[in-house]
């Protein structure tokens, strides 16, 4: 599924319950992140729950993201972020305003500021890392 497809799916849902359900399902569908990879250096600061995220550059010069969280919802939100950035070139990734996308999806207003900040922290982490490959 592409980010665009997922976005469309969400936009057809009538209630926040259904939206969260889709998001949690997305999270559940993510490949498991091996415990060994969940090191402190990839733990993102500024989130209420635990969020691990690894960003790497493949031989094809596109991004590979692996992430996890200890909560279902945040794991789903991570999935959304990964859908946005996965397999993009560093340049393409830098063009993406993750926070803005969340706003458009209508998700920010359901988030407390701390989680809004969490999203920002994740987005910033990606961009920071991506910059090294420009």
């Amino acid at each position: 599924m592409t980010y665009k497809e997922f976005k469309e799916k969400l936009s057809n849902l009538k209630s926040w319950q259904l939206m969260y359900r889709e998001i949690m399902l997305l999270g559940k569908s993510l490949p498991e992140m091996p415990e060994l990879l969940k090191t402190d250096d990839v733990l993102i600061k500024g989130c209420e729950s635990k969020v691990w995220l690894r960003v790497e550059l493949s031989d094809e010069q596109i991004l590979v993201l692996i992430g996890d969280s200890d909560t279902r919802i945040v794991k789903g939100l991570m999935g959304l972020i990964m859908l946005m950035h996965q397999s993009k070139t560093p340049e393409q990734s830098l063009d993406i305003n993750t926070y803005h996308e969340f706003e458009q999806l209508g998700l920010i207003k359901h988030l407390s500021p701390s989680r809004g900040n969490g999203i920002k922290a994740i987005a910033d982490t990606i961009h920071e890392q991506v910059k090294q490959w420009l």
């Binding site: 319950q17 209420e48 729950s49 200890d70 919802i73």
Partner: protein, 405 residues
């Protein structure tokens, strides 16, 4: 005096359709809602009376000063202590820091300070800092597996260690446990320790008689007891209080200043440097009137009834794990559902318009002892009713369903 169940009508927030959605407030442990009388007292202070206190002699300032000092007397009366033993601070956290910083000079390397394992960070970190600075040793009064103070071991520890200070919460913010402070204070005084009781959670529910309780210091925040934000109380037995060094220096707390030498006032002024939070004191004065107008026994019965109902309802849900002392409790329930993350449940509950708190509740060490990373906390007050609990239980069941994917 009207029945407890009608007092809710005095709280404007329950009559405001803030989000035009259902709104159930079960987070009084974080901060209480305010009755009309308190809001109006603050409002009319600014509209009619606003002036600085203890400064100059114009009528407005004199009126403000009288009202300000009258509020101090009201606090003293409620606590059954002298008004000169009551210091206005900016909150419970400020109060504890004033004690810990102020008593520093009286402690020496190797002295022991005891805190309970159930303390809020505000009643841990100031003591840790004091220990760091003076080479003192922090010892923890232990809890049982279910999160209740192990009174036997605690008393033994105190007997054995002869601590200089014992700091303990009157009620736990994370679990709601009413702690056996009388026994701790007795043991502490036998060991010649100074006792500090954190009443942030307990004050409104228990209205303690401090002369009876016999603790040396007692602290709480106005905002958790129907009052405005930015105000706290520090009570101390006069000689012990006056022996503390001040934390802040400035106007009002000073007797005489020259560039060569400065002398301070006695307590309470000594600890009230700078312009105090006058409007909050005026508002809290109204909060105390409000509290005093409610029969305390009736209020406790009402709150106990709510709490029992909440417990019964929660226990009827499969997979709910409840922490802490459910026998002696101020009306706070801390729980988890199976091994689901508290964050997911809290997010859904919020979606249903239920204001609760989730996380470690500023009690990380307690959570660690319990082997968890947080709970969902429902904290009740007398302005809640059975409908609130029904709405919460309904939302909780729906939220649990949402987790089944």
């Amino acid at each position: 005096m009207c029945p407890i169940s009608e007092l809710r009508q005095q709280f404007p927030i329950f009559n405001t359709s803030n989000n035009e959605e259902l709104f159930i407030y079960l987070d009084s442990g974080a901060t209480s809602q305010k009755p009309r009388q308190v809001i109006e007292a603050v409002d009319s202070f600014y509209r009619e009376q606003n002036a600085n206190v203890h400064r100059g002699l114009h009528t407005l300032s004199a009126q403000a000063t009288s009202a300000f000092e009258l509020a101090r007397e009201k606090v003293a009366n409620l606590l059954n202590v002298h008004s000169k033993e009551v210091v206005w601070t900016s909150g419970a956290t400020d109060s504890i820091n004033i004690i810990a910083n102020g008593i520093k000079a009286q402690l020496n390397q190797g002295d022991v300070i005891c805190v309970s394992a159930l303390e809020h960070h505000a009643n841990i970190v100031p003591w840790q800092e004091l220990c760091k600075e003076r080479g003192c040793i922090l010892k923890v009064l232990p809890i049982t597996e279910s999160g209740i103070l192990d009174i036997k071991s605690s008393v033994e520890l105190i007997c054995e260690q002869k601590p200089k200070i014992v700091a303990i919460s009157h009620a736990s913010n994370a679990l709601g446990n009413i702690q056996p402070v009388e026994k701790i204070i007795e043991a502490a005084h036998k060991a010649a320790a100074t006792t500090v009781v954190d009443g942030a959670q307990a004050f409104m529910h228990l209205r303690p008689d401090l002369r009876k309780l016999d603790c040396d210091f007692y602290v709480f925040s106005a905002h958790k007891a129907l009052g405005p934000t930015g105000l706290g109380v520090l009570y101390g037995k006069y000689d012990l209080l006056n022996a503390l060094n001040p934390l802040r220096f400035g106007g009002e707390m000073i007797k005489e200043v020259s560039f060569e030498h400065t002398s301070f006032q006695d307590a309470p002024s000594k600890f009230e440097a700078g312009t105090p939070n006058i409007s909050a004191v005026i508002g809290f004065s109204a909060a105390l009137d409000f509290l005093n107008s409610i029969d305390h026994e009736e209020l406790q019965q009402y709150e106990q009834g709510l709490y029992d109902y909440l417990l019964t309802q929660l226990r009827s849900i499969n997979g709910i794990i409840i922490y802490g002392d459910t026998e002696n409790n101020i009306g706070t329930v801390s729980f988890r559902y199976k091994n689901e993350h508290h964050f997911d449940l809290a997010t859904f509950l919020n979606g249903y318009g239920i204001a609760i708190r989730s996380g470690h509740h500023c009690t990380q060490p307690l959570m660690k002892s319990l082997g968890i990373d947080g709970t969902i906390r429902v904290s009740l007050a007398f302005y809640n009713n059975h409908d609130d609990i029904d709405a919460f239980i309904h939302a909780l069941k729906e939220s649990i369903d949402l987790l089944e994917i």
